[in-house]
């Protein structure tokens, strides 16, 4: 029983990371029908931005770790959104303006991801960075089950982000425009809404939360390297697809599902089988429901 609860907590923590990254894939896809393959690397850049911010605030300014964390959260999110918006501006928008086929934009996204990885490698070298400790670890024990404060923060962050996004897309005009654009891009400017504003807003949300995930991930697993976003990015993307890409609930359900499957596999089988089993199960889900759990086959009324 204790082992089970322990595993559930770990699954929730990993699911939270996947969900926070998956939502970026799903939001951009919902608005642009673009799979932004650079998104995993934006997560990586987010972790590095957090690293440099924290080093600067702790070392150069000498701030208290608690204050550093409180400042690092918004600053990392803002700066990482800047990275996402920049990519949109210099890589995706010019292609969109020229009416390029979506395939070329997806390839561009793949290249942007590789540029971010290799740019990081060239700039900072291959040595790994050690993320400093910001939060004194408190372990809460309930019988044999132990939870750290950091795990609770990660899980709470994912849940809060989910409700925040639900609020944005159902209650605000810009959020409604994000939903509307996925149904009919043509009509958005006819409503007096600049399409680019909706797209930029979408990148701000997706990249900002990837930055948050990067910071929380670096705090949880404090070793940073340029390729840290690649595999987790792929996994989050697959989670978004399994949940139903384009749907925010899908990103979260897919992310947590992947977390549970991975931890579940490791609980029973050797850990080397984790990814093989996890992806095989996801393949079966897609086999049964190709549009993902929340996905709808789109049809339009004439």
């Amino acid at each position: 029983m204790e082992v089970l609860i322990q595993n559930i907590i770990n699954a929730l923590q990993w699911g939270s990371f996947y969900a926070l990254i998956a939502l970026g894939y799903t939001l951009v896809y919902g608005v642009l029908l673009l799979i932004n393959f650079a998104h995993g690397d934006i997560f990586m850049v987010g972790a590095y931005i957090a690293f440099f911010l924290v080093i600067f605030m702790l070392g150069n300014i000498g701030l208290d770790p608690g204050i550093t964390l409180a400042l690092a959260v918004p600053l990392t999110m803002i700066l990482t959104s800047g990275v996402g918006v920049t990519l949109e501006r210099i890589a995706y928008r010019p292609l969109r303006r020229k009416g390029a086929h979506r395939l070329y934009v997806v390839i561009t996204a793949l290249m942007c991801g590789l540029i971010l990885e290799n740019g990081n490698l060239a700039l900072l070298g291959a040595s790994r960075k050690r993320f400093p400790e910001l939060l004194e670890t408190t372990v809460y024990r309930f019988g044999d089950v132990s939870v750290t404060n950091l795990k609770i923060i990660v899980i709470l962050a994912a849940i809060l982000v989910f409700f925040f996004l639900q609020f944005v897309v159902t209650r605000t005009k810009i959020g409604m425009a994000m939903r509307g654009i996925s149904y009919d891009k043509f009509a958005i400017p006819l409503m007096g809404i600049p399409v680019d504003t909706v797209i930029v807003f979408t990148f701000i949300l997706g990249s900002g939360f990837a930055g948050l995930a990067g910071l929380l991930f670096a705090m949880s697993y404090p070793v940073l390297e340029p390729y840290m976003g690649a595999l987790i990015g792929w996994k989050a993307f697959i989670a978004a697809v399994v949940g139903g890409i384009g749907d925010i609930r899908g990103a979260f359900v897919g992310g947590f599902l992947l977390g549970f499957i991975e931890i579940g596999v490791v609980a029973i089988f050797p850990s080397t089988m984790r990814d093989l089993f996890a992806f095989s199960i996801l393949l079966l889900i897609l086999w049964a429901k190709p549009t993902g759990l929340f996905g709808l086959a789109r049809h339009q009324k004439i």
Binding site: A177, L190, P194
Partner: protein, 245 residues
């Protein structure tokens, strides 16, 4: 005095094909003007050019000008045409947001009205729901589930919510049962009597000329006849080609 809307020798390309070869016409404040013509004559292309919709979906201007109160709008973004000039396009096929509710569709159209007070906007909701009671009944319904006629009402309702003073309608009668079609035109007439300027594109020339003050006949990208509705209805050529008489 400059006309409210002036299309001056407009030539546009759609892909590699020139779709309009120098079209000129004007719309005065408070008028109902109709563009009639066969399928493919360039009527929708004209409206999309005025709405400044960007390529690749929309036509590209080669030469000529489109002026609003004497000021060219060729370099204006499509959302600014709605937000600043208060010209709304109700496109062919309606293009409602089927995944949003009726109310959300209307709310989206108020996006650019940042300076307007809540009571002002509320008054417009009330006006739209009074004009189209069916929309009021279905306000929380997913708009995909509306009938064709209700979707057309929603498309017009959205244009009104954007606070337009010029409404451009592309084939509003398409796919509507006759009774609904007459209802729609009665409502549009009422809006015009309250001051709305209307530019109407229609294949149903009989209906359009009965409704409009003036008309232009468009044939393969050129204006071939123009005049008041009475004049056009009496013109033997127009009668033969478009009115089935």
């Amino acid at each position: 005095m400059n006309p409210l809307l002036e299309i001056d020798n407009l030539r546009v390309k759609y892909g590699n094909i020139e779709a309009l070869h120098g079209v000129s016409f004007t719309v005065e404040d408070g008028e109902i003007v109709t563009l009639i013509g066969a399928n493919g004559a360039g009527k929708s292309t004209t409206l999309m050019s005025i709405a400044r919709l960007p390529p690749p979906e929309a036509p590209k201007v080669i030469s000529g000008d489109i002026r609003h109160k004497g000021v060219s709008l060729l370099n204006m973004a499509p959302d600014k045409v709605v937000a600043n000039l208060h010209m709304a396009l109700v496109p062919e096929g309606r293009h409602i947001f089927g995944n949003l509710t009726v109310e959300e569709n209307l709310k989206l159209a108020t996006y650019a009205r940042k300076g307007d007070s809540v009571p002002d906007i509320q008054r417009d909701y009330d006006q739209v729901y009074a004009l189209f009671p069916r929309l009021a009944e279905r306000r929380r319904q997913q708009s995909e589930s509306l009938s064709g006629g209700e979707q057309q009402m929603l498309a017009v309702g959205r244009a009104l919510m954007s606070k337009c003073s010029i409404i451009m309608l592309d084939e509003p009668s398409m796919g509507l049962a006759p009774a609904l079609m007459y209802d729609m035109f009665r409502t549009l007439k009422q809006l015009n009597e309250e001051g709305m300027t209307i530019l109407l594109v229609e294949q149903n020339a009989n209906l359009a000329l009965k409704f409009a003050h003036r008309g232009y006949v468009l044939d393969t990208g050129e204006i071939v006849a123009q005049g008041t509705s009475q004049e056009l209805m009496a013109d033997p050529e127009v009668k033969k080609a478009y009115l089935g008489a």
